[in-house]
Amino acid sequence: MTIDIPLIAWLERMGPRLSNAFLEGGRWKLYLQGLGVTLELTVVALIFGVLLGLVVAMIRTAHDQQRLGHRNIILGVMNALCNVYTTVIRGTPMLVQLYIWTFVIFPSQRNKVLVGFIGLGVNSGAYVAEIIRGGLMSVDQGQTEAGRSLGLNYFDTMRFIVIPQAFKNILPSLGNEFITLFKDTSLVQAIGGAEMLYYASTIGGRTFDYMPPLIGIAMMYLAIVIIFTWLQGRLERRLRESDRR
């Protein structure tokens, strides 16, 4: 009994705080709204990142696989640009990049979530490019040679032979990139994008009580990451099973 009393007392004090943070004036809707924007930011930035990463990875791989004495100058220039891109993006903090997008490149853009899409997408593209490039290089060189020796051109060889095999190797890292990106969307709060952390800190400020909203969204982030990790594991197991056909 003596143990229960402080707990009950604590719960009694927490009740109003929780209600204030989540129920008062339909505030829970704001969290859901923020979650929607967070997911939107993640998905759009990831799609943008994957497309950008795919192009960069293809350019860099094509450049590396050129035959000696057949160096293509345009490809060389594009490869150099891609190199600068991945180096700069991977070598500077995400928050600094978001600030540069917001205050230097698009200072008059009012829609901060849109700037967030661009900032996160460009950032993610650099990482995804390296993931995809690693995946393409992990496919045995003999596969490319077999394709080319049959007279298939470079793009058909990539499309039918190398990329499908690389996909399986890329998937785990791409899943991790999704998780990283999902959590990094919280940085968009710092440029004024109305995502989950933005609403949580606004509500915290208004109620003078930061603990419930922050713990609340931390649990929401965690729950989604756990669900996603579980889905990813299932998909990978399924793909591995097809190896043992």
Partner: protein, 240 residues
């Protein structure tokens, strides 16, 4: 058919092929033997430009394929290649492995390619494997499929890069049998191998390579019974 002039190839500062000139006529079965690192595989891989020669020219049916302007894909469609490690595409069924190239290069419709695949698979006794995946096959079966895959492009010459070196001993025979049959049909073949029996029985000419040079070449009978070069004699005394 294939004319090689002053071919040299180096990897960095390491010279693998040193000024090789050689001619391969239609219908010939040229067997290339030699110790590891002698450059025989590199020589073979230069013939369809999987390796780019450092110097020299290679002419295939009157086209200088070492010319950078040549559409190498078109040339490779006429040269089949079989690899030591089979290099079947693990993400496709056997049927797809065989029909992908003929269909994508516009040589055949899917229907024609399917029919070709069936008749080729019957020839090597694997018609029941059309819907299987490469991982379900034994090494010997994989290599027979790899030969069929190359043949589906109806090549004018077949290049074999140590086709039996990665096989269990008991599976070597089934692959060599397919190659012998192919030779009997008159296919032009260039074969890099360690199978001396095959060289003697099937080859129309044997090349011995070492240190990036062709040290000796002769008809199989003369080559094995009466080798001239001391290096050849030493090599044969060890392997026979």
């Amino acid at each position: 058919m294939i004319d090689v002039k002053n071919l040299s190839k180096s990897f960095g500062s390491h010279l693998v092929l040193d000024n090789i000139s050689e001619h391969i006529s239609p219908g010939e079965k040229v067997v290339v033997i030699g110790p590891s690192g002698s450059g025989k595989s590199t020589f073979l891989r230069c013939l369809n430009l999987l390796e780019t020669p450092t110097k020299g020219t290679i002419t295939f049916e009157g086209t200088a394929i070492t010319d950078p302007k040549v559409k190498i894909d078109k040339i490779r469609q006429q040269m089949g290649m079989v690899f030591q490690h089979f290099n079947l595409f693990p993400n496709m069924t056997i049927r797809k492995n065989i029909t992908l190239a003929p269909v994508r290069t516009g040589l055949m419709s899917q229907k024609e390619a399917d029919d070709t695949a069936v008749s080729l698979l019957q020839r090597v006794g694997l018609e029941d494997k059309a819907e299987a995946y490469p991982n379900q096959l034994s090494g010997g079966q994989k290599q027979r499929i790899a030969i069929v895959r190359a043949l589906a492009m109806k090549p004018k010459v077949m290049l074999f890069d140590e086709p039996t070196s990665a096989l269990d001993p008991e599976m070597v025979g089934e692959v060599l049998d397919v190659m012998k049959e192919l030779a009997l049909e008159g296919m032009t073949m260039v074969v890099v191998t360690h199978e001396m029996g095959f060289a003697r029985e099937v080859g129309s000419r044997v090349l011995f390579m070492d240190g990036g040079h062709i040290l000796e070449q002769n008809s199989p009978k003369e080559f094995f019974d009466n080798p001239q070069n001391p290096r050849t004699q030493l090599f044969l005394s060890k392997v026979l």
